[in-house]
């Protein structure tokens, strides 16, 4: 892994070459939590750095896997990202949130790495995904005609007593969810990881991915639906396609 000397503009996640924190100018104000964390990081508090890594590492790895094929490469991309964060912190102005800055760096590095590896030929292949009007739910699950047209033909069955904790304790269900997430197109995966796994606010996700809120929710719903179908198949033994 190369030591990171490059800095990144906050517009793409980049620290500009001025110390101190400005008022955020990209719509998401820098939170008090971010300010406090940045102060601790600049004071050399290793515990603060561990906190930062623990908080975002999972989502960074999962997102990187949307751009590069191998887990090993994703780990390297994320390691490079953290190195860039360490190097860029003194110049981070706070014109975006810390998360927006870090994920901006990741996307920049992961795209670059993905293109260099040519494992994912073009990103535009996925970008067209949002332009189609496919329904999130398989249309064959609804009655096509008659008095009950538009009603469920193959309705979802109740998942009695299921809770997130019970689902997480079910290894097969977790594997099914992981596989469904891995199989998502990059544009859907980015949104699902940032919003549902990482817990970023809607505006923050839009800022990181440069998309509108409407677009975000179209993608988010399609991603959630694919994961839901994976869980449904796992719990009910329903074939993936009816």
């Amino acid at each position: 892994m190369n030591p990171v000397a490059t800095t990144y503009p906050e517009s793409l996640g980049h620290a500009s070459p001025v110390g101190g924190l400005a008022t955020a100018s990209t719509g998401i104000p820098l939170s008090q939590e971010d300010r406090s964390l940045i102060a601790r990081l600049r004071n050399g508090d290793e515990g603060a750095f561990d906190e930062l890594v623990n908080k975002h590492h999972s989502a960074l790895i999962r997102m990187a896997l949307g751009y590069v094929a191998a887990r090993e490469v994703a780990e390297e991309v994320v390691q490079d990202t953290w190195m860039a964060v360490i190097e860029g912190l003194p110049r981070f102005e706070g014109r975006s949130s810390l998360r927006t800055w870090i994920f901006g760096i990741l996307i920049h590095k992961a795209k670059d790495r993905g293109v260099r590896e040519k494992r994912h030929t073009t990103f535009s292949a996925f970008e067209s995904y949002d332009d189609d009007n496919d329904e999130a739910v398989d249309p064959s699950r609804f009655q096509p005609s008659g008095e009950w047209a538009g009603h469920w033909a193959f309705p979802p069955q109740p998942w009695d007593d299921q809770t997130p904790e019970k689902l997480l304790a079910n290894r097969q269900a977790v594997n099914a969810m992981n596989q469904a997430i891995d199989a998502l197109p990059k544009t859907l995966k980015d949104v699902l990881i940032l919003r549902d796994v990482e817990g970023a606010e809607v505006k923050e996700v839009c800022e990181i991915l440069k998309i509108t809120e409407t677009n975000l929710y179209v993608r988010l719903h399609r991603a959630r639906e694919r994961v839901r179908v994976a869980v449904e198949t796992c719990l009910e033994g329903r074939p993936a396609s009816l």
């Binding site: 030591p3 101190g20 924190l21 300010r35 102060a39 601790r40 990081l41 600049r42 004071n43 050399g44 508090d45 290793e46 750095f49 561990d50 890594v53 623990n54 590492h57 999972s58 790895i61 780990e75 390691q79 190195m83 360490i86 190097e87 912190l89 003194p90 329904e135 999130a136 739910v137 249309p139 609804f142 047209a149 538009g150 009603h151 469920w152 309705p155 979802p156 069955q157 109740p158 998942w159 299921q162 809770t163 997130p164 904790e165 689902l167 997480l168 969810m177 699902l192 549902d196 796994v197 817990g199 929710y217 988010l220 719903h221 959630r224 639906e225 994961v227 839901r228 869980v231 449904e232």
Partner: protein
């Protein structure tokens, strides 16, 4: 609960139109009018209630998804780099 087609008409949506609005609905983002119409449909449609319950469960489970731990060697390397670039100050300052 039994489904009554006439009530879907009152709600304005058939089941097929619910999924496109489901994530907005469970995240409380639908405009009031659409929220009422979806709510009216759900009141008489067990299947769509099941669908939304499942979708919300998936969302809530993802929030608690098991973390991917950083590899120990990677963490060590990052700590070293952090300590090199940001040597610890003797007095911490919480304000920037």
């Amino acid at each position: 609960m039994k489904d009554y087609p006439s009530q879907w008409v009152a709600g304005g949506f058939t089941c097929r139109r619910i999924p496109a609005r489901a994530s907005d609905y469970i995240d409380g983002r639908l405009p009031l009018g659409a929220q009422v119409r979806v709510g009216l449909h759900l009141a008489s449609c067990l299947h769509c209630r099941n669908y939304l319950t499942q979708l919300a469960l998936v969302r809530d489970t993802l929030e608690q998804f098991p973390p991917i731990a950083i590899r120990p060697f990677d963490r060590l390397r990052l700590r070293r780099q952090f300590a090199r670039v940001h040597p610890q100050h003797p007095f911490h300052c919480d304000h920037v």
